[in-house]
């Protein structure tokens, strides 16, 4: 157990015992050694379930708005206590974004910040392990900075860090949680720059090739909505791309119901799939913080982060704006500045 893990556990224990939080959102061991899974710790005696290691991939911030969406509150949830949450650097940008959009208020959360050396993409690691027929059962993992040392069945194997970590970690500019109440670990310095090589490769393709590429990608989509539901900034209760998921309450009149526009049907066809994704992209422009969760969640391995990185690049280039950095910042699409660098604005 790392110091960080132990210190987090101790702090959560204290907060729960003192009645300062209703629960803590963190990570616990998952279904196999390559996965952790989100956990919700309500009792002080459960804190030793909490883990902190390079498999702590999920962005937990979305659970904060999820909590508010519950239609029927249980009694214990009606108390206005805050929620404790463990937030990595990248994920903290989504928290900042939600705070700036007033979807969450600061007094509703106790933020556990950490320094993060990168998290592992289980798919990449598993492929390498399978390639060498390395069994998973007894697998443990350590890092020496540049490499991960995997121990399995008493044998050691070394894998270069950049071969198995999440793509987002390779150009991470935010390894420390941006805003926090408690911080765990030593702050990490980095001079990393955002890498848009993959986006530029697509941009460089002729129009027909790009169309072909994206048609192939979107044709694979089964519209399971995992990408949307995992997204911390896709919190709308009434989602434009989910025709049936419109908010209908007993107060909604029949006229209102009849006039609800089904923007998108449930049929899974290329045109509908494209509409789904492009609408979502428009709605998260200037709000997406590239946590990479949508791409990770996608069972069909659709390259969604190429789109989200493209958005980030455009937003930066056109408006010199970056989402999730400043709690006081106004949302990009609700501001106008004469100094906007984009040509079209003049």
């Amino acid at each position: 157990m790392s110091d960080i893990e132990g210190n987090i556990q101790a702090k959560v224990k204290k907060l729960l015992e003192d009645g300062m939080i209703k629960y803590f959102i963190g990570y616990e061991s998952g279904s196999d050694p390559l996965h952790t899974t989100p956990c919700f710790i309500k009792k002080a005696e459960d804190v030793d379930k909490i883990v902190w290691n390079p498999f702590c991939v999920n962005n937990l911030v979305g659970y904060l708005t999820d909590d508010k969406k519950r239609e029927i509150k249980k009694d214990e949830e009606k108390k206005t206590k805050s929620i404790g949450i463990l937030v990595k650097g990248c994920d903290s940008k989504s928290l900042v974004q939600l705070l700036s959009e007033h979807k969450i208020e600061k007094n509703e959360v106790v933020i556990f910040g950490v320094s993060c050396n990168g998290v592992i993409n289980p798919k990449k690691l598993e492929k390498l392990l399978n390639g060498k027929s390395i069994p998973l059962d007894s697998l443990t993992l350590q890092s020496d900075g540049k490499n991960y040392i995997v121990t399995s069945d008493k044998k050691k194997y070394s894998f270069p860090k950049d071969k198995i970590e999440m793509d987002k970690c390779r150009d991470c500019t935010q390894p420390n949680t941006l805003i926090y109440d408690e911080f765990f670990g030593e702050k990490i310095k980095t001079d990393a720059k955002k890498d848009y090589t993959a986006v530029e490769e697509i941009e460089a393709l002729p129009l027909e090739k790009r169309w072909e590429f994206w048609s192939d990608q979107f044709a694979k989509c089964i519209r399971c909505s995992a990408c949307r539901n995992v997204c911390p900034v896709c919190y709308c209760k009434e989602c434009a791309v989910d025709s049936a998921d419109l908010v209908i309450t007993p107060q909604t009149t029949s006229v209102e119901k009849a006039n609800k526009m089904p923007w998108l049907e449930k049929n899974v066809e290329l045109a509908e799939n494209i509409f789904f994704h492009l609408t979502r992209m428009m709605h998260i422009a200037g709000r997406c913080i590239n946590c990479g969760e949508c791409e990770r969640a996608c069972p069909m391995n659709i390259r969604l982060s190429l789109l989200t990185k493209k958005l980030e690049k455009e937003v930066k280039g056109m408006f010199d704006y970056e989402a999730g950095i400043d709690v006081e910042a106004k949302p990009l699409l609700s501001i106008f500045e004469e100094g906007d660098p984009g040509e079209f604005i003049k």
Partner: protein, 346 residues
């Protein structure tokens, strides 16, 4: 829907190098087989046997969509000068072969057969199903999340199959299980009689694969156990991390919930049936706005109850074949094996 009643099973072998010749002789059929594209294994209509990969644990999507498409046009309506309008129904004459389907997924189709033909005969499903031949491949190297042996299946189960092929080195051991299967064999001269040595190797391959699924538990107790767990706190806690996406249900070989919508265009319309998922908040919403399953714990409970109780109560077979996809592809690592184990303990 078994056509195997009076059929006498027979076994053959085919040399691996002859498989392509056998497949080429089946030009009356559309052959769907596993295909690897960018590390994503999916069943695809193949044109050339070279496109098939048989080095796979299982496909991301089960091939159930070939008998139950995610989007199915039930009828088309067009304007007609004389009659005012014209209705076209699909003929569904296409003959399909599912080559390389895994035993769990074939069992999944056997489960769907009952749903779509027992109480009510669904013409779309049954027509497609009648025209589809299932050639199964016994698993050699089950995935760590596979648990077929705990829910009445096995890596060499024959439920739903017309043939089961087993890799025995330089050839496949072919167990022909139905008349439909036998008709295909007769079309080709690439099959020869089995030797007792072939049979021994086949049995050993089956045993090795079975032994690789080390984890076994007894799911049979669940239909009864769940009977009095409807209001249990367990559901509140275990579902907290669920995102309510459709991954686990859309990728499940036995999930069959669907929705029907009429889609209008300028001067035509179509009626489509699409998959639906009990994990979506819109799944049970009433026109009044009332939702009997308002929160995710209600929806998660429904999924588990359907698999391990309702389906058993209705059809005397569990509604889960243990393929493990709902674990592997869940973005939050929801572990149905852990759920079953926890429930059986109670």
């Amino acid at each position: 829907m078994s056509s195997s009643n009076k059929f006498k099973k027979e076994d053959f072998v085919i040399k691996k190098k002859d498989v392509s010749q056998f497949l080429k002789g089946l030009s009356d059929y559309t052959i769907y087989a596993p295909h690897n594209e960018d590390d994503t294994i999916l069943f695809k209509a193949i044109v050339n046997p070279d496109e098939i990969t048989l080095q796979f644990t299982n496909s991301v999507k089960p091939p159930k969509h070939i008998v139950l498409p995610q989007t199915e046009t039930m009828l088309k309506i067009t304007r007609d000068k004389e009659k005012g309008y014209k209705i076209d129904e699909p003929e569904l004459k296409e003959k399909n072969i599912l080559f390389g389907i895994r035993p769990c997924d074939a069992k999944g189709i056997a489960i769907l057969d009952k749903v779509f033909s027992e109480d009510y005969e669904d013409p779309y499903y049954t027509k497609r199903r009648k025209n589809t031949i299932l050639i199964g491949f016994a698993c050699i190297d089950p995935h760590r999340n596979c648990f077929c042996t705990s829910v009445g299946g096995s890596p060499d189960s024959t439920d739903g199959l017309d043939m089961l092929w087993t890799d025995i080195g330089d050839r496949y051991y072919v167990s022909v299980l139905t008349k439909k299967g036998m008709e295909l064999i007769k079309k080709s001269d690439t099959f020869s009689k089995v030797t007792s040595k072939n049979t021994k190797v086949k049995d050993q391959v089956h045993k090795t694969a079975n032994d690789k699924i080390s984890e076994k538990f007894n799911a049979d107790a669940l239909p009864k156990k769940l009977g009095n767990m409807f209001e249990d706190k367990y559901w509140d806690n275990m579902s907290m991390k669920c995102l309510g996406c459709g991954s686990c249900t859309y990728l499940c070989p036995t999930c069959y919930c669907f929705d029907i919508n009429d889609i209008e265009y300028r001067d035509k319309a179509k009626r489509v049936r699409t998959w639906d998922s009990c994990q979506f908040s819109s799944y049970t919403i009433h026109t009044s706005g009332h939702n009997p399953r308002p929160n995710k714990e209600n929806r998660m409970r429904n999924r588990i109850y359907h698999k391990y109780k309702y389906h058993y109560d209705n059809y005397n077979v569990l509604g889960c074949v243990g393929c493990g996809r709902c674990i592997t592809y869940c973005p939050v690592d929801m572990n149905i094996k852990a759920t079953i184990k926890e429930l059986t303990k109670r």
